[in-house]
């Protein structure tokens, strides 16, 4: 009882606190909008919050909307009250701490009640620090910039044609849903009867249906580390070709860090796009940490970008300098979330190639299609194979593998 009483005397309006709490949670990435604020207040009006714990439980039932949010909620909740307490205390002793804080000058005093100033400053200070952290680069990144040469029109045209074929084959999938069709496909009894009911039940018009074709999405993960340098010319064509094809494609490049390059490639001519890329990605031709990059991808983009209609294409030679366990784990997670994983390995083109590279070996069990991609012919072959195999099926397109069959 005393706990809640305390709260009430300190902050006369509980609702103001809930709104502030929601705002705080929003800063932390929660989806806590007006609807959630209303829910929280309603919940508190029906819940007997005799103890502080019960109030927390009630808010925990209402505010978090995903597993991660559920797990972080209690910590954040505690953090909020602790800081509110500090803010209120400092106000009571009339020693405004924020005057010493130089960040307070860019805060807008109109927007918030005075007692929450401290909290607000703290929030803003906090986010500023986080932004700085994100913007800085790690030490071991190699800051080399490469100048990409342009490609001949003719060559580009040819590659684009094959890529279009590959992508088309990949991205159209039959679903279990039906859609109306014009006089081909299956006879649709239900609709035929329905349509002809008004004609007294005589079957004049026949209706047809067919399996709906679903457009799949695609995520492209490209290794741009030093070991891939030899193929970078081809690689860039490949990435660009896919990206230009459809807005359902998302492209990431990685060597030691992961970068999303979708927007940089979109809607530009290839020349300027490549210049931009070379400028913006400092770790181009750096070392490789495939596992860590893939984990990074899953953590940051996994839930948004992957679902069961997303095909993941990984372009890499599998030379991973990081922990192999991490790579295997990341591959497992990607496989769980995606429709298919296609690994294109430029090294796999030579007949002597065996996936003995540790990274490649760890990843192999999770790959649906493993194929070489060192030149245009190998791509063409890949396209040919994808036409015949639509289902999730292991395909290995290495030359020595095919001969042995």
């Amino acid at each position: 009882m005393s706990d809640t009483q305390n709260l009430i005397t300190r902050q006369t309006e509980l609702s103001a606190n809930i709104v502030a709490l929601c705002r705080f949670l929003r800063q932390k990435g929660f989806i806590a909008g007006a609807r959630e604020e209303v829910d929280a207040l309603q919940a508190l009006s029906v819940v007997p919050f005799e103890t502080r714990h019960q109030m927390m439980l009630a808010l925990k039932a209402v505010l978090p909307k995903s597993r991660i949010e559920v797990e972080t909620f209690e910590g954040l909740y505690q953090e909020y009250w602790d800081n509110l307490k500090k803010a209120v205390d400092s106000k009571m002793t009339e020693k405004p701490e924020e005057s010493s804080d130089d960040k307070s000058k860019d805060s807008d005093p109109r927007k918030k009640p005075p007692s929450l100033n401290h909290l607000k400053n703290w929030l803003q200070g906090k986010t500023a620090v986080e932004e700085e952290e994100v913007a800085s680069y790690s030490d071991f990144e190699v800051l080399t910039r490469r100048n990409f040469s342009t490609f001949s029109e003719e060559e580009m045209h040819h590659v684009m044609r094959i890529i279009r074929l590959v992508a088309k084959t990949l991205m159209n999938r039959q679903t279990r849903r039906y859609e109306a069709a014009r006089s081909r496909g299956q006879f649709d009894v239900r609709r035929t009867v329905r349509n002809n009911m008004r004609k007294g039940g005589e079957m004049f018009e026949l209706a047809w249906r067919r399996r709906k074709i679903q457009r799949l999405k695609m995520v492209l993960l490209c290794d741009v580390s030093k070991s891939m340098d030899l193929y970078s010319r081809f690689l860039i064509q490949f990435i660009y070709g896919f990206q230009a094809l459809s807005n359902q494609v998302d492209t990431f490049v990685f060597s030691t860090l992961l970068h999303r390059v979708t927007d940089k490639l979109r809607g530009r001519k290839i020349g300027p796009a490549l210049e931009r890329l070379a400028e913006d990605i400092p770790d181009w031709s750096g070392g490789t940490r495939i596992g860590a990059s893939l984990v990074r991808f899953m953590d940051d983009f996994g839930n948004q970008k992957l679902d069961r209609r997303t095909i993941v294409i990984i372009l890499s030679d599998g030379w991973d300098t990081g922990d192999i366990e991490v790579l295997a784990d990341a591959m497992r997670r990607i496989r769980q979330k995606s429709a298919r994983i296609i690994w294109l390995n430029p090294l796999a083109g030579s007949a002597e190639f065996e996936p003995k590279v540790r990274g490649m070996q760890a990843a192999l069990p999770y790959i649906d299609v493993f194929a070489p991609c060192h030149n245009i012919e190998s791509l063409q072959r890949l396209a040919g194979h994808l036409v015949t195999a639509r289902k999730r099926k292991r395909i290995d397109l290495r030359e020595n593998m095919i001969e042995s069959r």
Binding site: D39, A43, V46, L57, V70, R190, G201
Partner: protein, 298 residues
Amino acid sequence: MKKNAELERIRKLLETEGYITDSSIVMSVFLSMQLKKPLLIEGPAGVGKTEIAKVMASALETDLIRLQCYEGLDANHAIYEWNYQRQLLYLKMAEQSDASIAQKSADLFSDEFLLKRPVLQAVTQSKSPVFLIDEVDRADEEFESFLLEILSDWQVTIPEIGTIEATHVPYVVVTSNRVRELSEALRRRCMYLWIDYPDFDKELAIVKSKVPDIDKKLADQICRFMQEVRQQRLEKVPGIAETLDWAFALASLHVDHLDKDIIEQTLGVVLKDWQDIRQTQLSLSELWDKVGVSSKIN
């Protein structure tokens, strides 16, 4: 005080139905009933998500209407459908009769020819039912958006009859195994509850309540072993359902304690993946030692 009693009542109800809860679950169920908001339950397979809906229904003494989701589920299978074939037969038979056109059409679109699918059933009950939308992550995204509409309006429009509004808004429980991520819109419309694998004490309580005649020591060992097994890297982590199956199996074999041989022979009840079984067999000694240590500590 009165409200507190209500909360306590729900806990009691859940417990008398044999569902061992913790305070988060009780609070979520309580609030979803009070605020009339759908309850979205996520968690790994076999932790009793579906069970909550069943228990809620019997605790409220109301019907449970279940909509099992699958890929390709569409409105025809979820809301209602006319029984066209029968309608057609009726028309043929009615050709000879003298009834007026109006009469015929009224007959044609009567309840007799209406196939009520779960959603329509849920809105036409005389008492608020519990409406379970099971494994919503299996249905495709199109269905999810359709579900949003149902959850906000609680009405079904049948062109030939008109709009049917729910007389009693159902209590909704939506479950998901996280096969794919649900849309933000759906999450926001619901209250969210994450149920994880139970800790040792909770699992032991569940085993004892569901398999009452089990040997105390055996139950203890089973639960400790399960806790250790879940720490392994497995393809398919066993849930409470597996624990209970195992407990039942061992109890009916009249086993009163676990040892390595028994575990090895009955591992197939707990683990459902070939690789998992092999891996666990290899590390069985180590696992078993851990079980021994943990039971000595407590």
